[in-house]
Amino acid sequence: MSTLEASPTLAPTGVVHVRRPSTLTAYRWELRKLVSQKRTYLGLGLAAILPIIFVITQNLRNVHGRDQGNIFISHITQSGLATPVLILLFLSVFMLPLIAALVAGDIVAAEDGSGTLKTILTRSVDRGQVFAAKTLAAMTYGAIAVFLSAIVATVAGVASWGFNHVITFSGSVVSAPEGLLLVFAANAVYLIPLLSVVCIGVLLSTATRNSAAAVVGTVGFTILLFIVSGIPGLESVKPYLLTEQYENWHGLLRTPTDWAPIGHSAWVCALYAVPALFAAYLVFLRRDVAGG
């Protein structure tokens, strides 16, 4: 530290008014932190590789449009646009919630454990801003995972089976461009329950201060709901289970579009997301930051 003598401006020359950063700034840095961590790419890698494995497998099987119980499976070789729909169908139940939980469960707990949370909380950013930035970053990650798998599935499917018209769940034919739009709209609608999973992950991350516990807890919670949905006698609660909302996007692929399951899903998911997020916010605001 020998250059100290040459530095005459360490102290403020007057009253220093530090400009408070925007939440957007904190959010941008949360994303940069995610981008800089190797583990971020574990989930994204899964989201990208699974559609490719699926397409390769189907090519090797040399499927020829046999009726396999699902209209998209039966039309898999007739249009590449059937692939992203099937991928969403397969990944929406477990894999995409798991990928979202990997980051949501880690995003507060990891920083608390490593001590960097206290580093950022002693700067000019409020706790509420840090919380908002972290939650938005976790949500962004979940959305990127969903659309990454959709894009990879679409590209791989179209490369294998062409950019042709598709048939909806109702049996009507839609053009390829419209089909493409529907594919991405379906993925966007699927984000509604997925973001609820993220909110639960953020709550567990904030409350448990333990990344592994939060990730496992989030996934465990969704598995619990699956089990509940299968218990005889509990059929009446089934429409209100978060896991039942994973199929809300099916309404988009019907003719005419069935908006009812989407609307139902929106308020049911809000019942899970809003209390979880509010509780996480309160815990984050009042918590003692002593880790690391």
Partner: protein, 327 residues
């Protein structure tokens, strides 16, 4: 109107279930102080600093930084305040420069331009692009100082800043703190390095078992903690009985470099006359203040610490103990 003091804590309490970590601590750090915050491990220093920075909620009491409560006002109360509690922590997967860019952005962005300067100050410029994960403990300590300086603080809170540094690093850290203090930055320094505190600090608080056992000027503490003297005379053998017979003189003994004794300043004048009358010439009579280390152990070890009888305190005070006794 006078400005609010950099740190003012009143009745600060932190309880973890059955454990009382901080027990009604009052602190008064004045502008321009280099304020030593001392205590044995587990005395409550770090918990107090965490409360001061708004990282943990007090169970009772308040703490204000320049008149602002970090618990109620959040980041606004930390304006002009920087530092770290325990070891400074950074993102190991980011470079030092990226870490500082992140912290600069969270300070509103204006600090970004100072990153090269603060890296230069702590001599990390050559390693600025390296990931912090590969840094040694000492380098992270220096990066912690750089991160603090980025905010151009008026109050610097440092928790064991010299921990893990080699002797040259410790010397440089002392030099840096001295330099910052000379520039008008108030420094609140928690440290186990008692010689470092003695060298740097003008005021201290000593905490033990969650309570302040002394707060005040370090010079007062040392003066009142033991007005010792060392005497070199023409005839130590004749001088010793004179010392022992002299009212107000205590603990007279022969040492390696002459005689030593304790006495109040007023009694020393009478002693010199008595020595002269006894035919003993004074070659040297020098006051010897107790070291901070002596005083620290006397305040924090044994029954004396608990009863408050370890040393007399004048301008300083055992604020909490007295306050609670009166309460």
């Amino acid at each position: 109107m006078s400005e609010s003091p950099p740190v003012r804590a009143r009745g600060l309490v932190k309880r973890y279930k059955e454990v009382l970590a901080v027990d009604h601590i009052d602190l008064n750090v004045h502008a321009g102080d280099v304020y030593g915050f001392l205590g044995p491990n587990g005395a409550g220093k770090t918990t107090t600093l965490r409360m001061a920075l708004g990282l943990i909620m007090p169970t009772e009491g308040t703490v204000e930084l320049f008149g602002r409560d970090p618990i109620r006002e959040g980041a606004r109360a930390l304006q002009g305040v920087a530092g770290f509690v325990e070891a400074p922590k950074f993102y190991p997967y980011l470079s030092a420069r990226k870490n500082l860019e992140l912290l600069g952005a969270l300070d509103g962005g204006r600090a970004q331009a100072r990153i090269p300067e603060v890296l230069e100050i702590v001599e990390l410029s050559p390693r600025a692009e390296h990931r912090v994960g590969g840094y040694s403990h000492g380098m992270r300590q220096r990066l912690g100082i750089a991160a603090a300086l980025l905010r151009r603080p008026r109050l610097l809170i440092l928790d064991e800043p010299a921990t893990g540094l080699d002797p040259a690093g410790m010397r440089d850290m002392r030099e840096l703190i001295r330099r910052l203090a000379n520039q008008g930055i108030t420094v609140l320094l928690s440290s186990h390095q008692l010689p470092e505190v003695q060298e740097l600090c003008d005021r201290v608080a000593i905490v033990d078992r969650g309570r302040v056992v002394y707060e005040g000027a370090l010079a007062d503490l040392r003066r009142q903690g033991g007005a010792g003297y060392r005497l070199r005379s023409t005839d130590d053998a004749r001088a010793l009985p004179v010392l022992r017979a002299q009212p107000g003189v205590e603990h007279a003994a022969t040492g390696e470099h002459g005689l030593s004794f304790q006495a109040q300043e007023a009694d020393v004048g009478a002693l010199s006359i008595a020595l002269g009358a006894a035919g003993v010439g004074i070659l040297a009579l020098t006051p010897e203040l107790a070291t901070l280390e002596d005083l620290f152990f006397r305040l924090t070890e044994g029954a004396g610490a608990a009863s408050g009888d370890a040393i007399p305190v004048g301008n300083g005070h055992r604020a909490q103990e007295q306050a609670h006794e009166h309460a």
